[in-house]
């Protein structure tokens, strides 16, 4: 996720503000990356702040679910759902531009990468003469963490994780963002037509 930037995106709204606050009390960063036009209804600062604060924790939690899935509830599917929830939240709070900025990769790239990872992990045991999808793991002693187990299914699950994120993102992009863009376009067209009609009436 990109850190919030200052002034990276030129905002049309800034010039209209009467008197910008000065000195130390002027905000240097936005809560979210882009000029905000949320997916639903009016802009809500509360939502933006909460989303900004929550997203890192949600993403970390999703990775936790992925990694701990083998011994505790979780796994690649659940982890992927949680991670995609973070992006959905971002979309709800900030609209489709925010979603576009927040996507680490295009949904199709995510899907492809996930399938590739899973397929490679499925086929890897074949090289060693083991059957397809055979699981191999090794346990390490790490300082601070203690005993850490690295198993091949973890990478397989990571593939599942990526595919789930890709799926949700492409559905959100298709159903949410695309429709939003179309509505905007339709509204613009409607406005243009009305303006043309009223212009014709004045003449």
């Amino acid at each position: 996720m990109r850190p919030p930037q200052s002034g990276a995106v030129p905002g049309a709204g800034e010039e209209r503000r009467p008197t910008p606050p000065e000195g130390w009390e002027a905000p240097r960063e936005r809560w979210l990356s882009t000029v905000v036009s949320p997916a639903f209804g009016p802009r809500s600062v509360l939502l933006e702040v909460v989303v900004r604060l929550l997203i890192p924790s949600i993403l970390v939690f999703s990775v936790f679910l992925l990694v701990s899935g083998h011994d505790r509830p979780g796994g690649g599917f659940a982890g992927g759902l949680v991670a995609s929830m973070a992006f959905v939240l971002r979309y709800i709070a900030g609209g489709r531009h925010e979603l576009a900025v927040g996507m680490p990769l295009k949904p199709n790239t995510l899907l492809a990468a996930g399938l590739l990872l899973a397929a490679v992990m499925a086929g890897l045991p074949l090289i060693g003469g083991a059957p397809l999808l055979d699981v191999f793991y090794r346990t390490f002693e790490l300082p601070l963490f203690g005993e850490v187990k690295v198993a091949s299914y973890l990478f397989f699950e990571a593939g599942v994780f990526l595919i789930v994120v890709g799926l949700v993102l492409s559905v959100v992009a298709a159903l949410g963002a695309r429709m939003e863009a179309e509505e905007e376009e339709a509204r613009a067209g409607h406005r243009r037509r009305r303006r043309a009609r009223s212009g014709g009436g004045e003449r």
Binding site: A78, G114, L115, A119, V135, V160, I163, L167
Partner: protein, 816 residues
């Protein structure tokens, strides 16, 4: 053996060619000619042994479980075909280097597909396993599709390519069924074994033979499938010369010739081959005489010749088999020469329309000579190979010559052969005259020389200017000259051709009268018939205008192409009407169909099983209890209340919230039953679907359309109640009907061994990881499908279409 290596070399060359084309331009065709040339040289080097009756064999295991081996076997017939496919192929590749411009769009694709085709065709004629043959066969169909549709800017090219593909590959499916039946009946899929020991007693054999013949007829453009061949003439000329003269169309002839030694005596082989071959021969000759485009003339002539070849190859007598090899070689040489000549004329004179060409032989003398040789061979004039083949054919069908053929049938065939030969002579003459001859003004569309058109008084006709042509380069000419000389040399010295023919015809009994390909058989009936054919053909050419008028007056029979279009439209219409009935676009209808099917099949079965006592109703005390903890009751009440409320809610948004509340309730049940993994996943999925449905809800009206009370509504209620009852009852019965140990008992130990303590996840990622893999592929497919379906209505897609479509969409939009 070298053959599999040569086949692999074709594929490797096809991969390497695109970068080479970028480097060398059209000269890359010279590189492309190397694999076929190598294969021809290899075949020639093995030819003495093969002609002596020792076929070259090789075998590569492919799918051992299905008994599919890539068996290769090169006997006399295959040798003749390899010489045509690879030898003529190599020559045509060299010709292509001069034919195509280096800046031709898509040249890289063309070269590499052509080499692929050459490899596939080589596979067809050398494979000794029915499945391997089928695979190579369809590979030629696919590559031919790409080659015919090479010019993507032409609509006609795409249509013709599709037509050829549907016809040949569609009939190929019948052939595959025929192959399987044949293999099942004979107990082996090796062609050589099947032919040596045909399963003549099997009741499946007639069906299998008919199916195989359908495939062969379609590939070799036999009536009524012949329409695709003239259509495919939109392909570049070298492609036509290769695919439609030397190689692909011979596939069907080859298959017939391959199977005939074993199956010619089995009904209904001979009847079908003789009848369809003869019909094709006459139809092709008749329509060739109507053509004014040189290439189409040659194409219709090819149809006629293919009929001739099929009937020779399938007749199943010694002399016919000898004639088949002679005619096969002759046709390969002269027909590709003629196509190449058309290419030269088109390239140098700028047109290939008979009505726009006049006196071209003066500016293209060498081309005209080569074309003359080829046309004479096609017409059956001595001392060319075509003459020898035709003599043998006439001899084969003399009544009483072969006891396999009843005299009446032989006489009928002979009459047909003579008629078709007359037509062949006439269109051969028409070809040469049309391309190179001097014409009268009335026969062309060329503007007469000014000042000569008024000279009507003394009966002198207006003079027309000769067509000018730039002289072709030596490389460009080399190919047609070489191929036409092949016909002359093999005609004058028929020894090699006869050796191959004798080796191929060896399985047939010659009844003490062995027939050999030779120029002179003494003063025999066939020679007399040839004289008649030449005289009649010359007369037909002499009075061509009168004959053309006759043809114009002849009633047009229903064309086979109409049949093809009717078939296509019928298929579309049926598909559309089925889709319209099943895919109504109404979700309640889909759900209704699914639920009704569930009730009709497993539901009815369950009820009958309960009624007959097959399934015992568990007794009351059998673990059936109200709840484990009262909390379950509370959650169940929440589920029930929200479900009923969702039913009664008429606004979409509250209904959605109620529905997800039901889902969360079920997740609660999972938690209470000790399945945290399921609960976690369900909660996440429930949340996400709710959010995504909210996106969609923006587009929908705020309330559901109110369904008027009446039978449809009552039916829906009945269906839903029945489906719910069925699910509950069957779950209850299933849980009580366990007879075996649950497999989950061993899972705990297995999970421990796999190094995981979460059983569900160990199952997903280890025990049943292949299932999981399949599921993620489904997820991926769904993601791509959803995205592309939703984005289908994108505006900029519509912009590309003609504006009429856009208006229609606008109209529809306003109606809504």
């Amino acid at each position: 053996m070298l053959l599999p290596v040569i086949l692999a070399l074709h594929a490797a060359t096809a991969v390497l060619l695109p970068p080479l084309v970028r480097l060398l331009g059209a000269r890359a065709f010279l590189v492309a000619s190397l694999p076929p040339a190598l294969s021809a040289v290899w075949a020639l080097s093995r030819s003495p042994g093969i002609a002596a009756g020792e076929p070259a064999e090789a075998s590569v295991p492919w799918v051992p479980a299905l008994d599919i081996t890539l068996d290769f076997r090169v006997d006399a017939l295959s040798l003749a075909m390899v010489l045509l496919v690879s030898g003529v192929g190599a020559v045509i590749f060299c010709y292509s280097a001069a034919y195509f411009r280096s800046d031709q769009a898509g040249l890289a694709r063309l070269t590499s597909v052509m080499v692929l085709f050459a490899g596939a065709m080589l596979g067809v004629v050398t494979a000794d396993n029915l499945f391997a043959l089928y695979v190579f066969w369809e590979l030629t169909s696919v590559t031919s599709f790409l080659l015919v549709g090479f010019d993507q800017r032409k609509d006609a090219a795409g249509r013709a390519a599709l037509q050829a593909l549907i016809t040949t590959a569609g009939a190929g499916l019948f052939m595959l069924i025929g192959f399987i039946l044949l293999g099942q009946a004979g107990g082996t899929y090796r062609i050589s074994e099947l032919v040596a020991d045909p399963p003549v007693d099997s009741p499946l054999l007639p069906v299998a033979l008919v199916l195989v013949l359908i495939g062969a007829f379609a590939k070799s453009a036999q009536a009524p499938f012949h329409y695709w061949l003239p259509g495919a003439m939109v392909a570049p000329t070298p492609v036509s010369a290769y695919l439609h003269a030397a190689a692909m169309v011979k596939g069907g002839v080859y298959l017939i010739a391959r199977l005939a030694p074993g199956f010619a005596d089995a009904d209904p082989w001979r009847v079908l081959v003789l009848a369809f071959g003869l019909a094709t021969m006459v139809i092709g000759g008749w329509s060739a005489l109507r053509q004014t485009d040189l290439k189409l003339l040659v194409a219709h002539g090819t149809v006629s010749q293919l009929g001739f070849l099929c009937l020779l190859a399938g007749a199943g007598t010694h002399t016919a088999a000898v004639a088949a090899i002679g005619a096969l070689l002759a046709h390969g040489f002269f027909k590709s020469t003629l196509f190449l000549v058309v290419g030269v004329v088109d390239h140098q004179a700028g047109t290939r329309d008979i009505r726009r060409l006049n006196g071209l032989w003066r500016s293209l003398p060498v081309t005209a000579a080569a074309a003359g040789l080829a046309a004479a061979s096609m017409a059956g004039l001595p001392p060319l190979l075509g003459f020898i083949g035709k003599e043998a054919a006439l001899e084969a069908f003399l009544p009483g010559h072969s006891p396999e053929l009843p005299p009446l049938a032989a006489g009928l065939e002979l009459a047909g052969l003579v008629l078709a030969s007359v037509l062949t002579f006439a269109y051969s003459a028409r070809f040469w005259w049309g391309a190179f001859g001097d014409k009268r003004a009335a026969e062309t569309d060329i503007e007469p020389v000014p000042g000569t058109d008024a000279g009507g008084e003394d009966g002198a006709e207006p003079r027309i200017p000769r067509t000018r042509a730039t002289p072709p380069s030596a490389v460009f000419l080399a190919a047609p000259v070489l191929l036409s000389l092949c016909g002359l040399v093999l005609g004058s010295l028929p020894g090699p051709a006869d050796a191959i023919a004798a080796a191929y015809a060896a399985p047939y009994s010659d009844h003490g009268k062995p027939y050999h390909l030779a120029l002179w058989h003494g003063l025999s009936t066939p020679l007399l018939l040839t004289a008649v054919v030449i005289a009649a053909g010359a007369a037909l050419f002499r009075w061509r205008e009168a004959f053309a008028r006759l043809q114009g007056r002849a009633p047009r029979v229903i064309s086979a192409e109409m049949g093809y279009h009717l078939f296509l439209h019928g298929t579309y219409a049926i598909a559309l009407s089925v889709t319209r009935r099943l895919q109504t676009g109404s979700l309640p209808a889909y759900l209704g169909i699914i639920l009704a099917t569930m009730l009709a099949l497993p539901g009815v079965r369950l009820v009958t099983a309960l009624a007959t006592g097959e399934v015992a109703v568990p007794s009351g005390g059998d673990g059936l209890r109200l709840w484990d903890t009262p909390l379950e009751g509370v959650v169940a009440a929440v589920i029930a209340v929200t479900a009923i409320a969702a039913l009664r809610e008429h606004r979409r948004f509250p209904a959605l919230i109620l529905l997800s509340a039901t889902g969360f309730g079920i997740a609660g049940l999972f938690v209470l039953h000790g399945a945290p993994d399921l609960a976690l996943t369900l909660i996440l999925v429930e949340t996400l679907t709710t959010i995504i449905l909210v996106f969609v809800l923006r587009r929908l009206p705020a309330t559901f359309s109110v369904r008027a009370p009446g039978w449809p509504k009552r039916w829906m209620v009945v269906l839903s109640v029945a489906a719910g009852a069925f699910i509950s009852v069957s779950l209850w019965l299933m849980a009580a009907a366990r007879t075996a140990e649950p497999i989950s008992l061993g899972y705990e130990a297995a999970a421990e061994q796999a190094g995981g303590r979460n059983l569900v996840n160990t199952i997903l990622a280890d025990f049943r990881a292949l299932d999981t893999f399949g599921e993620i592929v489904v997820l991926l497919t769904a993601a791509v499908a959803v995205a592309s379906l939703v984005l289908l209505n994108r505006r900029h897609r519509v912009v590309d279409e003609p504006s009429a479509d856009e208006e229609q969409i606008e109209e529809e939009g306003s109606r809504r």
